[in-house]
Symmetry: C2
Subunit: 218 residues, 2 copies
């Protein structure tokens, strides 16, 4: 499907630009700024603009919606609809932990009343020491790509996530007010699960794809 | 002190090169490799070589020792001695979480029988969505620098770490066998501390410097 290919290529192009913008702090007065609050807002908005611009440029996207602009935005194409969070992890960007982009692609011209099973593409980019995209495309093996010299290279394929002793407790404080969450925490601790939790959902979920095991709990 | 300045400049230059090597996977056959075990070894060894080469090139370092080569390695200078871990976080590099370099600089020609109080420089680089160095230089304010367009820019100054509700439990499994550790974990949970734990010591410690609060427990 050429239209789907174009859509994915433009998303990947946007992710490469977001990685560069985050790294270079190009949207920020970083050398003179004392606070990181404003900066985070700026980079979020900039990432959002990059993705909308690329999706429009693809010519195949009918509508798109983001966490920043959560309405249906008509982009001129007719084949696909895309939902995304342009930059997940604002709370950890100041500490230089990995952050990411997450996106889903549906066939058709609207995002309303769609289900997860109707997805044709689901994926996320992680901006860390490397720039990677993990992507699942309907009827293809899921894979991770890495950005090298402005090109994307496949590093591995993966399938389903198995049971495994790795946990990312996304809402640990709930263990104090929710008996079930506390019981779950006790289970992870008693069974000596490995803890990995950065506080940015996209990298925390992506690690489970890469490791092929584990549990994320919000 | 011109010698100390040279030493720090060459460490920073090494960190910029390590960031680039990690990002580009230049030492790896990443597009054709199925396992990440060998790759991590290669990038560790490459980072080690970069640091030794830069310290030698500075002309001011008498001896250096790394986690990879933990002996006293004579580098031809006479003023300073440097100890470092070139690349901390091998276990999370595959999941694209932040990794780092940590280093300490002592006056004189040997690292043997030195204390932390004798340090003239302590610092770490974090390779994440950005490349940063947090550095404490005796008699100067501690600061964070960010790499932009191959130059380092100061982003902020910081001083001591205060008490604060942020925790990075570096040895969570010990809570199952050590009553004191378990008691500490209960304290963090009961008091609703924020959890941030990537599994790489350097980024996990660096976040406390940046946030100016919190506790890391090994």
């Amino acid at each position: 499907d050429n239209d789907l290919r174009r859509c994915i290529e433009h998303i990947a192009r946007a992710c490469a630009q977001i990685a560069d913008a985050v790294r270079s702090g190009r949207t920020e007065k970083i050398a003179t700024s004392n606070t990181f609050g404003d900066e985070q807002l700026e980079i979020d908005v900039f990432a959002d603009k990059i993705l909308f611009d690329e999706l429009r440029a693809s010519g195949v996207v009918a509508t798109a919606s983001s966490e920043e602009v959560p309405t249906e935005n008509r982009l001129g194409g007719a084949s696909y609809s895309v939902a995304f969070d342009p930059l997940d992890g604002s709370s950890v960007i100041g500490t230089n932990f990995s952050v990411g982009t997450i996106f889903g692609v549906w066939p058709g011209t609207s995002l309303l009343n769609r289900t997860g099973r109707e997805l044709v593409v689901g994926g996320c980019a992680v901006y860390g020491p490397r720039t990677t995209i993990s992507v699942a495309i309907k009827s293809l093996p899921s894979m991770e790509l890495i950005l090298k010299d402005d090109k994307w290279f496949k590093t591995r394929e993966f399938s389903t996530i198995s049971e495994g002793k790795l946990f990312a407790p996304g809402n640990l404080r709930a263990s104090q007010s929710h008996a079930g969450y506390n019981e779950l925490l006790s289970y992870w601790l008693t069974n000596k699960y490995t803890l990995r939790y950065t506080g940015a959902m996209v990298p925390d979920l992506n690690q489970l794809l890469i490791k092929g095991k584990g549990v994320f709990c919000n």
